[in-house]
């Protein structure tokens, strides 16, 4: 009897449960569409160098504050400016003659990067603070929660705008600003989940056996908060990108000339009546990206919520 069989036997009910979850998920058309969209976008991002017709170059520059930054550069072809979609340029060209299709394809990489970095960072902060607040309670809990109250009492986009404006225009700063907006949500979500699970019998049992706090938190409590946090992360991957695009649009994100979807719309805005494609396609890319994660998140919630699943 092999090691695998042993494992299979030991985790039989867990495997059965996972299979059931997967079958539920496969029956939901909208979630499958969402998953399809996400896989499509990831593939596009992965194979960007093969799909795109034009490619950016990256240069390291010393910025006015004395820091080295990497800037993205695209070759300029003024002769091809504002061409409508054609066989040559699927999505047309912009006012510098860049191929919009190529920029959107590379933009997928940036969007995924922004989404993942912000959501994962916010989750890590949320897990740490939420675990402390939820598990230890008392004044520490009160203190952390009041701080989240303060952050949550300012509309998200406006808080992010204030931070990004103060930090100065750059895509990194937009990411910091969005982490600042998103960490309170995760802190509260994880705290709430922990309050729910810490009263469960198995946690009580572990505590009565003298298991150390850290072990209880990491081994018994956190794994059980996974499902709702994962759903939230999925949905937020889209929302973060949506907000980042908004900040770029008002001139707080990437430097002009970068293949960032929100920025492209902002640049194309001047030409909306001459070159609709300039704003249309980057926007469509954002919609598909955000829609994909929203549909998937919605579907996951239905499947993972024990109240709704059966």
């Amino acid at each position: 009897m092999g090691f695998i069989d042993e494992w299979k036997k030991r985790n039989e009910s867990r495997i059965k449960e996972t299979k059931f979850t997967l079958s539920l998920f496969r029956h939901s058309l909208l979630s499958m569409i969402g998953l399809g969209l996400i896989i499509f976008i990831i593939l596009v991002a992965l194979f960007a160098p093969y799909l795109a017709k034009e490619h950016p170059t990256y240069v390291r520059l010393l910025n006015p504050e004395g820091k080295y930054v990497t800037e993205e550069r695209w070759d300029i072809h003024f002769g091809d400016k504002l061409l409508p979609p054609s066989r040559e340029h699927y999505f047309g060209t912009d006012d510098y003659g860049h191929d919009i299709f190529s920029m959107i394809v590379y933009g997928a990489r940036l969007s995924i990067k922004i989404g993942l970095l912000v959501v994962i960072s916010a989750t890590i902060i949320g897990v740490i603070l939420g675990a402390i607040a939820g598990y230890f309670g008392g004044y520490l809990d009160e203190f952390i929660m009041r701080i989240t109250d303060i952050f949550l009492s300012i509309p998200g986009l406006i808080l992010a705008m204030a931070f990004a404006a103060a930090l100065g225009r750059s895509i990194e700063h937009v990411m910091y600003a969005l982490i600042i907006v998103w960490w309170p949500t995760y802190t509260r979500l994880i705290r709430g989940q922990i309050l729910k699970t810490r009263e469960e019998t198995y946690v009580e049992a572990a505590r009565s056996l003298g298991t150390p706090d850290s072990k209880i938190i990491f081994k018994h409590i956190l794994p059980n908060t996974f499902a709702p946090v994962f759903v939230q992360m999925t949905m937020d991957l889209g929302n973060v990108v949506l907000n980042a695009a908004g900040l770029s649009f008002i001139g707080l994100g990437a430097n002009p000339g970068t293949a960032e979807w929100g920025l492209m719309i902002s640049m194309g805005r001047v030409y909306i009546f001459q070159a609709w494609w300039y704003v249309f396609f980057p926007g469509l890319a954002i919609v598909l990206f955000v829609l994909g994660f929203n549909l998937l998140g919605d579907g996951l919630r239905d499947v993972l919520d024990p109240k709704l699943r059966r």
Partner: protein, 339 residues
């Protein structure tokens, strides 16, 4: 607990929150890497004396806790600092721009809430029929679409391709603004009987209000639908039917009243979304409101205006949340005030 006592208690609880918000905006304005005084003085070529004068004026050389004290003291006296992009106090600018934003947000809300609730109900009652699929798709696109992109698409469609609506701003250039009473054009023009202005301002509101309201409509629809789905299966709905009530009464009286409770729960979130969305919507529709003012300030590195705007937004949010909580206790008798 009496409603009045509850409100007073809640107002007292707001003080630490607002203090926290000011501390936050204060901190943000002090992480600004650039030399603020130099920017205000006119950039690189600024006269050192001017810079020194501005530094003194802004207490930039004092210790931080003192600076915070000055900042708070100014705030309490209604002084949000000076807007360097408009060369006047921030409060004056916000006072001027507030009504335009209020008119836009309120109208967007008046569009989104009833339509969202009604379509949410229809979607739930006709679950899994085509109308349900269509409304759900509309709802999920509503929360997935970049508001500024939607605005641009609507401009292309309805102001350019089929020019039936104005492109931007609050009034046609040939229309005189109504006499200033509240600053809400619809209200002012109605009261003064200025129907040309009324017509023009309504026309100008349609696209921005729709743009702004669409995302909220999506959220309201989703919440209403999912709570209705649960409620129409509940025992008390069966009781209502067993009484012999008309299906319409069952749904729109017995079910709706219960479905409104979760909808109200998210309305704070919706309001935050509207205020954030207003920043983008106003920018595109050249709407002379606080959002456009803030974006201009951002682009001109006018930080005191940005921070002033942020504080005002926090105050509006906090007030809105208080109203929501009070409504909540009115709508749901199971909620005891103060618990």
């Amino acid at each position: 607990m009496k409603l009045r006592d509850y409100i007073i208690r809640r107002l007292i609880l707001l003080i630490p929150i607002l203090l926290g918000v000011t501390l936050l905006t204060f901190t943000v304005s002090h992480i600004i890497p650039a030399d603020v005084a130099r920017v205000f003085a006119g950039g690189e070529k600024a006269n050192p004396e001017t810079i020194a004068r501005i530094r003194a004026e802004m207490h930039l050389d004092d210790p931080l806790y003192k600076q915070y004290y000055y900042y708070l003291n100014d705030l309490i006296h209604g002084n949000l600092g000076k807007s360097y992009s408009e060369n006047r106090p921030v409060v004056d600018a916000i006072k001027q721009y507030f009504p335009a934003t209020a008119e836009l947000t309120v109208l967007a809300m008046l569009l989104a809430i009833p339509i969202g609730i009604i379509t949410g109900i229809i979607s739930a009652v006709r679950r899994n029929q085509w109308i349900d699929h269509v409304t759900r798709l509309i709802a999920i696109t509503g929360v997935s679409i970049p508001i500024f992109w939607l605005a641009l698409m609507l401009q292309i469609a309805f102001a350019y391709k089929y020019p039936i609506l104005p492109l931007d701003s609050r009034l046609g250039i040939d229309v005189m603004a109504p006499k200033h009473i509240t600053g809400l054009y619809i209200f002012d023009s109605l009261v003064t009987g200025n129907f040309a202005a009324l017509k023009s301002s309504i026309y100008h509101l349609i696209l921005p209000a729709f743009t702004l309201g669409y995302a909220s409509l999506g959220i309201i629809l989703r919440i209403t639908r999912s709570s209705m789905l649960e409620i129409v299966r509940s025992d008390y709905i069966r009781t209502a039917r067993a009484k012999g009530l008309k299906e319409r009464t069952v749904i729109y009286k017995h079910a709706l009243r219960n479905a409104l409770i979760p909808t109200l729960t998210v309305s704070g979130l919706i309001f935050a979304g509207l205020l954030g969305g207003a920043v983008l919507t106003e920018t595109i529709f050249n709407w002379p409101g606080m959002g456009r003012f803030a974006v201009n300030a951002v682009n001109n590195l006018d930080f005191s205006s940005v921070m002033g705007f942020t504080v005002i937004m926090a105050i509006i949010m906090v007030t809105a949340n208080l109203i929501v909580d009070i409504l909540y206790s009115v709508l749901d008798p199971r909620i005891r005030l103060g618990e």
